[in-house]
C-alpha cells in the first residue's frame, strides 16, 4: 500500500464518517426521524380526523384501492398532526408535498409520523407505491387555513369523534 493509496483510503473513510455525523446531527438536533416499529396502537379500519386540543390533531388514515380515507382534510395554521397510516388492501404509500411526510401503508401494519403545518396553503398528497390499475388516481389534499378562515365543523370533527379520541388515547397507553 503506497502513500497515495493510504491517503485515498483515509479521505474515503473521513468523508463517510462526516456524512454519518450529519445524519446523527439531523436526528438528535432537529428530531428528523423515520417511521418506527409500532405495537401499541389498536388497528383501525375507518379513517378519521381527531382533534386533541386547539392545535393538536390525530389523523387515522386508511389507504384503499384507490382512495385515501379521509381524502380531504382541513387544518388550522400551526396545527401539529400525528399521522397513523394503514392499508385496507394492498401496499400503498403516502407522500405529502412540501413536508417530510413520506411513508408506506402496509396491510397488517400501522405507520406513524408527525408533521407541523406552519404555512397556510394546499398540501397535495398522493399514493406513491404502485397499487393496481388506477394507482395514478389515488390522491388527496390537506388545506391549511388561517385562524379566520378555519371553521372546525367543516371537517366533520363532531362530538362522536371527539369521544373516540379520548378512548384512543387511553388505548394508546394500555395496549402492548
Amino acid at each position: 500500500m503506497d502513500r497515495a493509496e493510504k491517503q485515498a483510503l483515509a479521505w474515503s473513510i473521513g468523508i463517510l464518517v462526516l456524512f454519518m455525523a450529519a445524519i446523527v446531527a439531523a436526528i438528535s438536533g432537529w428530531g428528523i426521524t423515520v417511521p418506527d416499529c409500532i405495537t401499541d396502537v389498536e388497528p383501525f379500519e375507518e379513517g378519521q380526523l381527531i382533534q386533541h386540543d386547539d392545535l393538536h390533531y390525530e389523523l387515522q388514515m386508511v389507504a384503499h384501492m384507490w382512495y385515501f380515507n379521509p381524502g380531504q382534510i382541513e387544518l388550522p395554521v400551526g396545527a401539529t398532526l400525528d399521522i397513523y397510516l394503514t392499508s385496507a388492501d394492498v401496499v400503498h404509500g403516502l407522500h405529502i408535498d412540501k413536508t417530510d411526510i413520506n411513508m408506506m401503508a402496509i396491510p397488517g401494519q400501522i405507520s406513524y409520523l408527525r408533521v407541523k403545518f406552519d404555512e397556510p396553503g394546499t398540501y397535495h398528497f398522493l399514493c406513491h407505491e404502485y397499487c393496481g390499475i388506477a394507482h395514478h388516481t389515488m390522491a388527496g389534499s390537506i388545506v391549511v387555513k388561517s385562524p379566520e378562515e378555519f371553521q372546525p365543523e367543516d371537517m366533520g370533527a363532531d362530538e362522536a369523534l371527539n369521544g373516540a379520541a379520548g378512548e384512543t388515547e387511553e388505548e394508546l397507553g394500555n395496549e402492548s
Binding site: 402496509i106 396491510p107 393496481g132
Partner: protein, 605 residues
C-alpha cells in the same frame, strides 16, 4: 486459447436470448417516458398496459438480461482465467433452467396476469408461473455457480501457493453475494407467494414478504455491479494500455463487497413501518460501509488510467485524461467502460443521498429513485454488459465487430440521454413527482383535477432523455445483430484482455474467501434477526390476494374482521371459516382460469 464448440454455442445463446428480449424491455422504457410526459395519454400503448410494460421493463432489463449475462461471462471467464474447462453438461442444465424460467415468467407477464412490477410486493398477486419462472431462473444461475466451484478447488490443488487470478476472485465474489442473497427471496417466493398464488394458503404476511424481498433486493444491485467491476479492474487497464494500479486493492474491494453487500437491505425500507428505527440506522451504517469499496475503486481505477495516460505520453496533472483512447474505433470496448465510470460518479453520489436515513424521506418512492438507479444499473452496469456481450460474440465466433464507428459512439449517446433523463427524474422527484405512476392520465393531464403543472418541465426533460437513450440502444442493436449474423473472418478464440498489476502488495488475508464469508454471515444474522423479530411482532394480520385490476380481494376471508362478541360462538365460527375456505378455493380457481374481465365480475360479487 481455442474456444470449445459447446461453450461457444452456450455463450451465444446466453447472450442472444436476453439481447432479443432487451428490445422489448427498452421499448417499454421508451413508452414509460412518453406516458409520464402525457404524450401518450392512455392506459396502454402498442397493446401493452402501462403497469404491465413497467413490469416487463424491470424484469427483462434488470433481472433476465443481467443474470443471463453474468452466467455467460462467468462461464467463459472462469475457463479462460484458470485455463481449465468447466463441466458443460451442468452448464447447459443451468441454461435450460433459466430459459424455462424466463418462458414461464414471460407467459405470465405478456398475458397481463403478472402486472405486479419487478418487486412483486404482495398482497398483489401474480400468476403462479411468474413466481415459479423467476425461481427457476435463479436456481439456474445457482447451478452455473456450483459448476465453477470444483474447477476452482481443483485449480488451487494443482497450483499451491499461487494467487487466484483477480478476475476469478471477482466472479466468485459476485456469485457468493448472489448465492447468499437469493436465499431469502427464494424463501419468500417458494414458501410464501407461490403456495398463496396457487390458492393453497389464504393469506401472506405482507411486511415479512417485503422485508425478505429487500434482504435480496439490495445485494441484487451488487450482483449487477460486480461483473462491471471485474471488467474495470482486470480488463480496462490493459485496454487503455496500462496496468492495474493495485492488485491488492482489487482483492480487498471484492472481499469487502462480500462482507457489506447484504446486511443493508432495510435502507430500502426507511419509510416502512414494522422495523425499529435503530435497526434501520444500523443498516444505514453498513450501507455507508459498502460505499467504501466503491470509493477505493474510484481511486484505484483512476490511478490505473492515469498510469496508462502517462505511458501514452501525457504530462501535467490532468493531461492523462486526454491521452486515453476515448474514440479509437479499434478499441471500441473502451468507451463502454470509461463512460460507465463517469456515469457512476453521479450514481454513487445520489445513492449516498438515498442511503442517508432521514434524508431518504425527501426522495423515497419519488422519481428521484429511478433517476438514481438508472445512473447505476443503466449506466456502468448496462454499458459494460452491452460492450462485453458484443466482445464475447465477436471473439468466440471469429466475426469482427461490424460498424465499429456505431459501436464506439453508443456509450456517448447513451450517456447524454441518460444524464438528461436522470436530471428530469431527479429534479421532479425533489418536487414530489412519484415513480411507478402513469402520470399522463392524471398528474400531467391539464383536464384532470389532480393536474400538477409544476412537474411539466421535468417530465419533458425526462422524455427527451428517454428518446435519446432509446436511439443509442437501437444503434447498439444494429451493431450487435450485424456482427452476430455476419460471417467469420478470424480464428474463433476464447480470450479476455486481462491486465497485469503495477503494485502487487500483501494478499495473505485476501487469499481465501472463507473468513470473509464467515464475517458476512455473522453480520447478516446480527442485522436481520432484530428486523425479522420486529416485523413479526408488529404484524396484526396477514392479507388475502388481490388482482391489480380489482379492489376486492380474490379470497374472501370471513374470519378477518371479527367482532369480539362473535368469537364466543366458537362452533359457528369454525363452520363459517370452513365455508369461507370453500368459497376461497372457488374464487381462486375461477380467477386463475378466467380472463381479467371475469375476475372483475367475481370480485364485484
Amino acid at each position: 486459447m481455442k474456444v470449445d464448440k459447446s461453450l461457444k454455442n452456450l455463450t451465444l445463446w446466453l447472450l442472444f436470448i436476453p439481447t432479443v428480449l432487451l428490445i422489448l424491455g427498452v421499448l417499454d422504457g421508451l413508452l414509460q417516458v412518453l406516458f409520464r410526459a402525457g404524450w401518450i395519454q392512455n392506459t396502454e400503448a402498442l397493446g401493452i398496459e402501462y403497469y404491465q410494460g413497467l413490469t416487463l421493463h424491470g424484469v427483462i432489463n434488470a433481472i433476465v438480461f443481467t443474470t443471463f449475462f453474468a452466467v455467460a461471462f462467468g462461464n467463459a471467464l472462469i475457463w479462460y482465467a484458470l485455463k481449465k474447462p468447466i463441466n458443460l453438461k451442468v452448464a447447459w442444465l443451468s441454461f435450460w433452467l433459466m430459459v424455462i424460467g424466463v418462458v414461464f415468467a414471460a407467459y405470465a407477464m405478456l398475458t397481463g396476469q403478472a402486472s405486479v412490477l419487478y418487486t412483486f410486493y404482495p398482497p398483489m398477486k401474480a400468476h403462479p408461473l411468474f413466481y415459479l419462472g423467476l425461481a427457476l431462473a435463479v436456481v439456474g444461475s445457482w447451478v452455473a455457480f456450483w459448476n465453477w466451484i470444483p474447477v476452482y478447488l481443483q485449480w488451487r490443488r494443482e497450483n499451491p501457493g499461487q494467487k487466484t487470478p483477480l478476475a476469478v476472485v471477482g466472479i466468485f465474489a459476485t456469485f457468493i453475494v448472489w448465492q447468499i442473497a437469493t436465499i431469502p427471496v427464494a424463501v419468500e417466493v417458494l414458501f410464501m407467494l407461490f403456495p398463496w398464488s396457487m390458492g393453497w394458503t389464504d393469506s401472506v404476511n405482507v411486511m415479512l414478504a417485503r422485508t425478505l424481498f429487500w434482504f435480496f433486493g439490495h445485494p441484487l444491485v451488487y450482483f449487477w455491479l460486480l461483473p462491471a467491476y471485474v471488467m474495470y479492474y482486470t480488463m480496462l487497464p490493459k485496454l487503455t494500455g496500462g496496468k492495474l494500479y493495485s492488485d491488492w486493492a482489487g482483492r480487498l474491494v471484492f472481499m469487502l463487497f462480500i462482507v457489506f453487500s447484504i446486511p443493508v437491505g432495510t435502507h430500502h425500507q426507511y419509510a416502512d413501518p414494522g422495523i425499529g428505527s435503530e435497526w434501520k440506522f444500523l443498516h444505514a451504517v453498513f450501507t455507508f460501509a459498502v460505499a467504501l469499496p466503491s470509493l477505493i475503486t474510484a481511486f484505484t481505477i483512476a490511478a490505473s488510467l492515469e498510469y496508462a495516460g502517462r505511458k501514452n505520453g501525457a504530462t501535467g496533472t490532468f493531461g492523462w485524461m486526454a491521452k486515453l483512447p476515448w474514440f479509437d474505433t479499434n478499441r471500441w470496448l473502451v468507451p463502454y467502460l470509461l463512460v460507465g465510470l463517469i456515469i457512476f460518479i453521479f450514481g454513487g453520489i445520489s445513492g449516498i443521498v438515498n442511503a442517508s436515513y432521514n434524508l431518504n424521506l425527501l426522495v423515497h418512492n419519488t422519481s428521484w429513485i429511478p433517476g438514481h438507479f438508472h445512473l447505476t444499473v443503466a449506466g456502468p452496469v448496462f454499458l459494460a454488459f452491452l460492450g462485453m456481450s458484443l466482445y464475447m460474440v465477436s471473439k468466440m465466433t471469429g466475426k469482427p465487430v461490424q460498424l465499429k464507428g456505431f459501436a464506439t459512439i453508443v456509450p456517448y449517446l447513451w450517456m447524454i440521454g441518460l444524464f438528461t433523463f436522470s436530471t428530469g427524474m431527479m429534479r421532479g422527484g425533489l418536487h414530489g413527482e412519484p415513480r411507478r405512476t402513469n402520470l399522463g392520465l392524471t398528474y400531467l393531464n391539464p383536464d384532470s383535477p389532480f393536474y400538477r403543472p409544476e412537474w411539466e418541465p421535468y417530465v419533458i426533460i425526462t422524455a427527451i432523455g428517454g428518446i435519446l437513450m432509446f436511439t443509442a440502444v437501437t444503434i447498439y442493436f444494429i451493431t450487435f445483430f450485424a456482427t452476430f449474423f455476419s460471417s467469420a473472418k478470424e480464428e474463433a478464440k476464447l480470450e479476455f484482455p486481462l491486465s497485469e498489476a503495477y503494485h502487487e502488495g500483501p494478499v495473505k488475508a485476501l487469499a481465501n474467501f472463507k473468513p470473509w464469508v464467515t464475517i458476512a454471515v455473522v453480520l447478516i444474522v446480527l442485522s436481520y434477526i432484530p428486523v425479522i423479530y420486529d416485523v413479526l411482532r408488529s404484524t396484526t394480520r396477514s392479507a388475502p390476494p388481490y388482482d391489480p385490476h380489482n379492489p376486492a380481494p380474490l379470497v374472501q376471508e370471513e374470519e378477518e374482521y371479527y367482532d369480539e362478541d362473535f368469537e364466543e360462538e366458537e362452533f359457528e365460527d369454525e363452520e363459517s371459516a370452513v365455508i369461507g375456505e370453500d368459497e376461497a378455493t372457488n374464487t381462486e380457481e375461477s380467477a386463475t382460469e378466467s380472463s381479467s374481465d371475469e375476475t372483475q365480475q367475481t370480485g364485484a360479487e
